[in-house]
Amino acid sequence: MELNNISNNINEWFDGSGPLCDIVISSRIRLARNLAGHKFLSRCSNIEKAEILEKLKSAIMALDIGDEISYISIDKATSLNRNLLVERHLISRHHALGKGPRGVVISNRELFTAMINEEDHLRIQVLKAGCQLAYCLEQINKIDDMIEKKVRYAFSPRLGYLTACPTNLGTGIRISVMLHLPALKMTNQIEKFFNAARDMNLTVRGLYGEGTEAASDLYQLSNQVSLGVKESDIVRKFESSVIPEVVEYENAARKELLSKQPDVLDDKISRALALLQNAHLISSQEALFLLSHLRLGINMHDYMGASTPAIKKLHDLCGQGQTRQISIATINKLFMLTLPAHLQINYGKPLEPNDRDILRAKIIRSALNQETQSS
């Protein structure tokens, strides 16, 4: 896999499709596993890390998961390439910043990744667009079973899969859904969502961890408890109660904006459009913030039939049916491709922050003015 080939498009799971996609951007399940008969990574020498890496790499690379897979060495990758993988959610920031022999196996469609020597020896994850956790669980279980035929995992009948950190113990599962919740934020109800999540033993984080949620209105909601509950029960809880409830809250907030504060809504969408179409310098934080409002406008038109003046204007700009110029996928593409590492890799060389802001603004301007230029 050439990173230059993936850097100019979005991942399949980020194309704005799938069930409940107006609010649930993507579903992700990861499993943490460690090899029996080896120390955890904090106590491993580089020689032992290399041995673990080789064992797992050869086991996984020999699998037939129905999509071509490639291996990327993280310790040998440039920091720009490592950041690109973080921006695409293919590796964690922890993995990018780690030490010693480590790598990642990525499927061509970027729906499966296996981080080797992250916090645990192995962390496999399956991603999918929209709300598709049951599918992700089925897929990851199959892959886990295949790997397990080739290696022996550290497992205790009492504590389950043994992980470096006791918080991942048991099933080793972390279920995570990425949610777009701009209306809850605009109506000052996002704190309620945080509290409800905490009461249900769930964790809320921003798109790229702490501090990024305010910019993009994207939140990752995940389970905390991995011991003493079945994998399928956690998935069922997410799909039957957690996700529908959050979707209902966000939809209620969107309806409330429409009926009680249409001017607030239109102001946000109009300002976002005007700035994105005209700005010459734009930071990635500002871009995330403004693109979030465009995503809201497009989805409110498509899924709720909203037609306030600003939403109508945005819809006209987007175009319709076959000739549609701007879709949620376009917005997500602008969102991902203007992140710092994507921007620089696609440009072909490192850029200073100010130059990145100029280039980012240019890319967004050109994408959003396409339709008006051609009409």
């Binding site: 955890f40 397990e148 550290a154 497992f155 389950g160 950190c165 006791p166 991995s226 011991l227």
Partner: protein
């Protein structure tokens, strides 16, 4: 001060009596006090005295603390101090070595849950696998009893018995 009765021994018991507004003091040795049928009672009940004493003594945990603190995993050389610093363990065996310290942390992190329930590797020996099935059935039985679903509880109880029989066979 000498005993007011024998004038020999050291007075260790000091009595103050207030009667009809008149205050009298007596200073006696233990022998003379006993002869006068004056029994000395502790001001503090014995259990309170003991617990008071214990509270100033190091507790079991405090005694165990430093020992555990210096406990080293024979497999990876890991210590609790390192766990506190790094937040991750050194090897799978640490879960046994530091069980007494880790168990409360595990329960806290997992909403009070104590044991695994879910996927089991296919390579796990049959006995362990069966054992886990039984553990899982027991958990379900507890839930059924708690929610007063006695029909389900009876079915689960039979299943457990059947499984346990198979185990012993």
């Amino acid at each position: 001060m000498q005993c007011q009765i024998c004038n020999k021994n050291e007075a260790t018991i000091h009595l103050t009596e207030i009667s009809s507004g008149t205050r009298t003091e007596m200073h006696l040795c233990e022998n003379c006090a006993a002869e006068q049928n004056i029994t000395v009672k502790s001001h503090i009940p014995i259990n309170e005295l003991l617990s008071g004493l214990l509270s100033v003594q190091p507790t079991d945990e405090e005694i165990a603390g430093p020992t555990l603190e210096h406990l080293t995993c024979p497999n990876c050389g890991f210590t609790l101090a390192q766990f506190r610093k790094e937040g991750v363990l050194g090897c799978p065996y640490d879960y046994e070595v530091f069980e007494s310290v880790l168990q409360p942390l595990i329960e806290k992190a997992h909403d009070g849950k104590k044991s695994h329930c879910g996927k089991i590797p296919a390579s796990t020996p049959i006995d362990a696998k069966k054992q886990m099935e039984i553990m899982s059935l027991r958990r379900q039985l507890d839930d059924a009893v708690r929610s007063e679903d006695y029909e389900l509880a009876a079915v689960l109880r039979d299943k457990i018995n059947q499984n346990e029989k198979q185990q012993t066979n």
